[in-house]
């Protein structure tokens, strides 16, 4: 079992992350992945730039804890979580979550679990800017409610 988490300013490459999940990993037959990206419209406002602020140190710790929670719950091979910080444009990738397991259900469930907990627990904050000005994104009740199913 192998957990890798990183917060980085620069972009990540989904192909590279997939390769890292699969390299020398013939025990696992399933790899599930999720990628979240910057949308160009949010609450009817056009978004050109997204600024991602984070709490250095705590962000990495929380991601590690969330990954550990998934590993405690399912038999997983590898887990990788990458989250960007800084300034991103519409269309850019924000977050990558990947998990491997012998079979698909554990890998798929672990990905969904990790994303649900990341949305509610990981200390990142989004600020959108566009023609309408700048605006901090508000947390959603639906994100907290999503935790209940786990």
């Amino acid at each position: 079992m192998d957990i890798f988490v990183r917060v980085q300013a620069g972009p990540f490459d989904v192909g590279t992350e997939y390769a890292a999940l699969r390299r020398d990993n013939t025990a696992d037959g399933a790899a599930a992945m999720f990628v979240g990206s910057v949308r160009d419209f949010s609450s009817a406002r056009e978004v050109q730039t997204l600024k991602l602020e984070h709490y250095p140190g705590m962000a990495e710790r929380q991601l590690q804890e969330i990954a550990s929670g998934a590993v405690a719950r399912w038999k997983l091979g590898r887990v990788r979580i990458l989250h960007r910080s800084g300034s991103l444009c519409a269309g850019e990738d924000i977050v990558f979550v990947g998990a491997t397991a012998e079979h698909r259900q554990a890998a798929l469930d672990a990905c969904a679990y990790i994303m649900d907990f990341l949305k509610s627990r990981a200390p990142f904050w989004k600020k959108e800017s566009g023609p309408g000005g700048e605006h901090w994104v508000q947390a959603r009740a639906s994100d907290t409610e999503a935790l209940e199913k786990w």
Partner: protein
């Protein structure tokens, strides 16, 4: 000394990202809040927000707790990552 951090919209509202604060050692989070609220109306109102989260040494904490010199306390709005 306690290191206090503020993030996101709260940081903008207070125009402050970080502070070093002298509180009794050992002290409490409640004492720290009082000390910060005494800085002015903006601080008092901002810290009264029931939605604010608090982390002590990078772990979320609820209610009151003990603080010792060298601790790091962070205040921030609900998170919106992912």
């Amino acid at each position: 000394m306690i290191r206090v951090l503020f993030f996101a919209a709260l940081r903008e509202q207070l125009q402050c990202a970080a502070l070093e604060v002298q509180v009794p050692d050992p002290g409490t989070l409640a004492q720290l809040r009082e000390h910060l609220s005494a800085r002015g109306e903006t601080w008092r109102r901002a810290l009264e927000d029931g939605q604010l989260q608090v982390a002590l040494n990078q772990c979320i904490t609820r209610g009151d707790c003990a603080l010792t010199s060298g601790d790091e306390v962070a205040f921030f709005p609900p998170v919106t990552g992912g």
